[in-house]
Every structure is written in C-alpha cells, then in structure tokens.
C-alpha cells in the first residue's frame, strides 16, 4: 500500500478524463434504464465470477465464460455485460430460459473445483448465479446496475490518482526471487513442454480520434503470467532483469520453433514475433523465412528488445540489414519513458518503436527535459506504438502526443466492445 501522503490530488481535468470512460458498467446501467418500459418477458442472471479464486478468473477464463452466451447474443436473444470485477450480467428473453440455465450449468461445471462452488450456499455465502425476473425484480436489478456503475467510476478515479505515485515505490515483488538453478530447471522443462496452449495473440490497433480501433497486426507471444502460474506459481520471474532476459529469449526461440512446426498458417501475415539478434541469424529463423511467402514478409514485424539491440550494435546492424533485405519490418520493444531519449529511431534504422505506457507520460516530459510530443514528432506518429495500455487514460494520453498505434488489455476490451456494439446495431435494425 502506498501511504496517503504520496497520493497526489486528482485535478478536475484528470477526473473528467477518468469519468469520460465508458465501461461495461455504464452500458449496463443505460440498458437497464431502457428496459424500464419493456420489463415483460425479460429475465436477467448475474454470474458471480468475482467470487472465484484469482487463479480461476484470469482473462481467458472470463473470455470462455462470456463465450458461453455467444450463441444467444448472436441470435439477438440477450445482451451480455462483462464487468471489471469479473462478474457477468446476462439480460435475456424468457423464451431462452432453458438455454441460459444450460449455460449456467456449463459454467458451474467449468469452475466446479473452485471453493466458491464447493461451499455454495453454505453459511449464507452468496450464490454463484442470481436470477432476476424483470417484471418483479426490476428495481433490484436497477440498484445492482447503479451500484456497480458508481463503484467502477470510483475505482477508475482512484486508479488514475495512484498511477502518479507509482514511481515512488519500486514494483512490489511477488514471490521468491528467481535463482539461476530454478531458471535452469525451467529451461529444461520448456525444452520438452508443449507451449502451444500458452501462445497468445494481442492486436496492435490504429486508434484515430474517437473512431473504433482497427487491428494493424497481431503480436504472437507466450504468456509469462500463464507460464508462472503453471510452472513456478510462487516465484517472481522478473526479480532479476538479466535472468528474465535469458528466459524470454528461450521463450522466443520456442515460439519460433512452434511456428516452424505447426503448419497452421498462424503466420498468415500481419503478425509480429519477438526475436533476439542471435536468433535472427539462426538456422531456425532461416527455416521460418523459407516458410513465409515473399509477398508476406512486408507485413511481418520482428520485435527486438532494447537491451539486445544495444548489447552489440554491430550484430544488430548486420541483422537489421539482413531482415530489411528480406522485407521484414523491425520494431524495438520495451522502450519506456526513461529510456526513450537514448533510442533514436531514425539513426538506428528501425521501422517502429514500441513504448511501454506509464501514467507518468501524462506529464508529457522526458527525463532530458524535452517533450514527449516532440519525440513522437521526430519518430513519426505512425511509427510509435504505445503498448500495455491498461486503461482509456493511456489511449487518451497517447493520442494527445500524436501516437496512433496502441496495444494492451484496454485495446482488447475496446475491440470486444466494438464487436458487441455492432451486434447492438443489428438488434436495432431488426
């Protein structure tokens, strides 16, 4: 916890930005208001995923849960709201009650090992699912919607304020530090394990003004969080920057061999993969290169870590020239607001710079005293990607300095919301 004196007051302007954000909670509240005159024949169910163990309510669990209602949403039989506390609210027409009950059964099964479902109902513990008959329970549902919307707004405002004081404290380390011995065992394991199910893709999107995000390419990577959860749950993998760098290199090589092995057209263009300079010159990369149609290389982005680029500039320049000759684009990854002044995109001959979002960026000043917006100007607005955007503030701030490419959990959420909105349009048309 950060002591209160470290928290800077939230300015009215910051508050306004935070409040402008439209979350699922706000959408739920609006929708419930709209249903005031259409209560007949409608029901709702609240699925309390928030009561599950954290390990059971990770992003992909929520995604699976939301997908359970996908068919009904597509048939325009109901609307799903995925709240930021992980709870789901599904509002639907009575005619599909059976299907909804079936979906809840599926979810109960999915999470049946979780303590929440094991002691459900015991000692007055809340149920996994709560049902509402709108004709009878409209007011209760409305209160629920109002409560979650207020809580969410509060949470966002607080989070925003906290972002500023984050720099005071170094990131809190979770778990025991990673030792070389543990890393050795981990690498041995990685050599044998099938990592295909830990492979993730995340979109890098163009977001211009208020228009919806447009995916430009997808980054393929192995989820470190999943890996930690599965293999070393009590270890802080990032405790040593250098051991972590060694680990990510091992993972990057594994991604490359996965892509070489699986002929599943994952690499159908418009993707980015993480590589290190030595791997770019390896036989594995040449195999990868062989499998890619020449016309497609221009749409493939190779991401190199900043430390790898600067560890041996000569080797980097050689690899860069080779990759450019083959038609690939090169992105430097992991640049943060502090290291930005050292990365001269043009001099280094890089195509893209990936900047890690940090709430400090709101101040708009770099450590060398120049402004972030002048850096982006020099870099070229379409050549900077703001990544790890966890909230709307990141996108707003990025747009404010001229950035147009964004990546991160919030961008994923925006994409999902967009999909949902387009479904909403269909409903109205009907």
């Amino acid at each position: 916890m950060i002591p209160p004196r470290d928290e800077r007051p939230v300015s009215p302007q910051q508050k306004a930005i935070a409040q402008r954000l439209v979350g699922q909670e706000t959408l739920l509240l609006e929708y419930v208001h709209k249903l005031e005159k259409h209560r007949r024949g409608r029901r709702a169910v609240q699925v309390r995923l928030s009561g599950l163990q954290p390990i059971n309510r990770r992003e992909h669990h929520i995604r699976i849960a939301v997908n359970t209602f996908e068919t009904l949403v597509k048939q325009l039989k109901g609307q799903i709201f995925s709240l930021s506390n992980a709870d789901l609210v599904f509002i639907f027409k009575e005619a599909v009650l059976d299907e909804v009950e079936a979906a809840i059964v599926k979810l109960r099964f999915l999470f049946s090992d979780d303590p929440m479902l094991l002691d459900e109902g015991a000692n007055g513990k809340p149920a996994f699912a709560d049902w509402f008959l709108l004709e009878r329970d409209y007011e209760t549902l409305l209160q629920l919607a109002q409560r979650v919307a207020t809580e969410e707004q509060q949470r966002r405002t607080n989070e925003f304020a906290k972002g500023f004081s984050k720099q005071m404290a170094r990131p809190v380390s979770r778990g025991d530090p990673l030792t070389p011995q543990m890393l050795g065992k981990l690498e041995e394991h990685l050599a044998r394990a099938d990592l295909a199910n830990m492979m993730r893709r995340q979109a890098v999107c163009a977001i211009v003004g208020g228009s919806p995000p447009q995916p430009v390419f997808h980054e393929l990577f192995i989820s470190i969080a999943d890996l930690r959860e599965t293999l070393l749950p009590n270890v802080n993998l990032a405790s040593s920057p250098w051991l972590f760098q060694q680990l990510t290199e091992t993972l990057d090589r594994r991604v490359l061999s996965l892509l070489n092995k699986h002929d599943d057209r994952t690499v159908a263009g418009d993707v980015s993969i993480n590589l290190n300079v030595q791997t770019l010159l390896s036989p594995e990369f040449l195999t990868f290169d062989d499998n890619i149609k020449a016309s497609m290389r221009g749409t493939i982005v190779l991401e190199l870590q900043k430390v790898d680029v600067f560890a041996d500039l000569g080797a980097f320049l050689f690899a860069r020239d080779f990759a450019h000759d083959r038609g690939y684009r090169i992105c430097i990854d992991g640049v943060n607001v502090e290291s930005l002044p050292f990365v001269d995109r043009e001099r280094l001959g890089l195509d893209l710079v990936k900047i890690v979002w940090d709430p400090l960026m709101v101040e708009g000043i770099l450590p060398n005293g120049s402004t972030l917006s002048s850096y982006i100007d020099r870099c070229g607005p379409s050549r900077a990607i703001l990544c790890r955007c966890d909230n709307q503030q990141a996108v707003d701030c990025g747009q404010g300095v001229g950035i147009t490419l964004f990546q991160g959990r919030h961008v994923e959420a925006m994409l999902a919301a967009e999909t949902q909105k387009s479904k909403g349009v269909l409903t109205r048309r009907r």
Binding site: F318, D344, R347
Partner: protein, 454 residues
Amino acid sequence: MNVPVPSATGPEIVTQESLLLGAAERIDRIRQGRLAIHVHLSRLRPQNRQDGHIRIALRMLEPMINAYRGQMFLLGNSDVVFMLKDPNLTDVENMVFKLRALFSKDPLTFVDKGDGRDNFCTWFDLGVTSDYEAFVGMSRTVTEEARQRSRDKAKARVELPPIDPTGLGEVMEALAAIDVSGMIRRQAAIVIDGTSAEVLFQEFYIAMAELQKALAADMNLLGNRWLFQHLSQTLDLRVLSALQDMALRKRPNMFSLNLNIASVLSKQFDDFEKSESTRSALSVEFQVLDVLADSRGYYAARERLREVGHQVVLDGLNELTLQFMDVTQFDADLYKVTWSPEMGEGEHGDITAAAMAPLGMEKILLARCDSESAIQWGLNQGIQRFQGRYVDAMLAAYTMAGCNKSSACTLGQCIARHGVVAGPMRSECGNNDMLDSSPSMRMPKPRRTPEATA
C-alpha cells in the same frame, strides 16, 4: 551447396577445400562462360564472421547459385567460393554489392589499402587461361591449408561451451567461498596537459581469465551475455568489499570502478565510500547496456554520485555507438571510447572524430590505447585522456627511470607488477612505494601529421 562437416573431430578426408579443388580441375575443358568468385570472409573481424554472419551470407548467395547452375563452397576459414555458368554480370555485381553492404561496418569493406585491389572478393573469369590457372592455384593452396588446420586441430584447445543457468548457480555458490582479492587488477589512466602527463585515476577490476580459471574450468563465463550480467552484480559486491582491505603503500588519488547501476545503491558501496572518503576521489563506470536496461536507476545513481562529488563515466563506447546513438543524452562526466586502428583511417576516422565532437573532447577518454599511434591520433583530435597497454608501458618506463631497484627488473615485469594489488608478483617488486606512486611524466611535444596541421 555441398554440406560441410562442421568442426568434425579426427582427420577430415573430404573437405570443402578438396571438393573445390576437384571441381576446379574437372571444369578445365568446359570453362568457357564460367565465373568464379572468392569472397574473403576470413578477413573480417572475428566478431563479424561468427556462424550467424556466415549463414546469412550463404543465404544471400543461394538464389544466384540456383539461377546460374552454380556450386558453392564454404571453406574452413569462413571464406566462400562459388562458381557460376553464363551469369548475367549485372546480377552478380548487384549481389556482391549487397553482400558487401551487409558487412559495411567491418574495416574489410571500408579500409582502402591503397593498392587498388578489392580485399573483399576476387573474381576469376575462368574462360581466360591465366585466371583459370590462378583459380586452380588458389584451390590447391586452400586445400593444403585445410589439411594443415585439421592436423593442428588435434593439438588446439577445445572451445569451452557457454555457461548455462545451472552452471551459473554453481559458479555463484563457489564465488561465495573464494577470496577475490588475488584476481583484482588495476590500470591507470592519464591526462596529458601540454608537455606533462599526470595519472587521472586507477581503475580496479576483476581479471576475467583468473576468475574463469578459479570458478569455471569447463565453461565460458562470458559465453552468455545475460547470465554474465547477472553474475557481475554479485562480483561487484565482492570487489567492493575486497578493495577496502587492500594494502597499498599509497591510495590512488582517484579510484575508478566498473559497477552495475544497482551496486551503487548497495550497502557494500556505502561502506567502500565511507572507508575511502578521506583518502581518494571516486569515479564509477557504467555500461550502455545497463543504462538502457534500467534507465530510471541510472538517473538515480547519477544524482546520488554527483551529489557527493563522484564522477560518472559511460564505458564501452566505440565507433558504432558514437554514430548510431545520441551519446550526449547520457549526460555523463566522462565518456570512454575504445580505440581501434581504423580510427586512424582517413574518412572513417573523420566520421568518428565528428561524432565525438558534441561530447566535448575534454570529456573523452581514449581507452585500450595499445600503440603510440593511438595516443598520437587522440592528441591530434584534442583528446587529453588516455588508458591502455601503451600507457601502462609509459608509466612503467617512467617508474623504472626513477627507481633505485630497477636494475633487477625488466620493463615487462614492471608493467605486470603495476597491474596487480596483491600476491607474489607484487612481493617480487623491490620497491612497492614506487609501484604505488603516480609519477608525473614529461611528454614530448605531440608530432603533428601533415594532414592534421593542414
């Protein structure tokens, strides 16, 4: 391509070289319209001709070999020889140009020896008898060399495999149990002001070869950059502790230490600082790599050091970092640039000098000066600070000139004894006071080269 047997042990009966010679002899009667090119990749700097580089070079050439029914040979010394039939010469020239461009950061492609010869590759128009004979002659020579190499290989030392995480764990455990003071070395840097030269600081560091011998006889500690970085954090703390116990007759005016950023914020650093506070000034050298990895830490460490009057040095700069980064952004007190003989080469040297200018020549130290020409070049650019083997020799010679025990020693011995801070080598010296003194030297007037004065 003919598949080579990479570093196979035992005598190689069929080598790429002997296959090349066979092919060269076979085409004697059908050599009209054939072209051969010998690409001298063996002349590249070792760091520019590692497996990865060679692999990429072969990959670049492959399409052309396929297009012109060619044959390609990768020789044991990394040279590549290929033959083509009726090629389009513009195609070939373009490909060679591209290949040369890929190695444009290596002196091989930019240093002009002045003899008008192309050092990067040799062309043989096999239809011309003299060219053909030269080609067969070259093939014979390389085949003989390969045979010689495979004979020597049995005697040669095997290359150690790079350290792995498990090995690192063992090394770190072993490190906790040994005394590192015997592995500490020192090297002075000087500042030349007009006609006199003073010692600027003494840099203290761990001799990697010694550490390697003591801790990891069967693996290369430097073979994995990230794992070595991790090890170096622990090494820092050990060196900081050992330096406090060091018995010198005279402490240097200024200590210079190579440290990780995190080490500056350690208890061991505070302790060292306290123990030296009344005796010596302090200079801390950081690596570019470390600054990039933890820029926030760098800013904090820089402030912390400057606050108490210590000097912040950016270490390990070279011609490339100067050209491809805006080094002024580091805002250090001193920048260490590694000397390379190519800096003396016309245009290339001018580019390097121009890249140094924004830093201010008074903030540059030319490191690894192993010859008089290094110092000469630096002085001509306005650089005053130097370090390296040539400087070691100057200091030792000066020490010997004023030492009453010098008749018993050679210059080599004096240089070596200056480098250590403990152990038998130091006790062999009859005058430790002289060894630890920082003599002030008189310098000859810098000789100016005609171009520099013009």
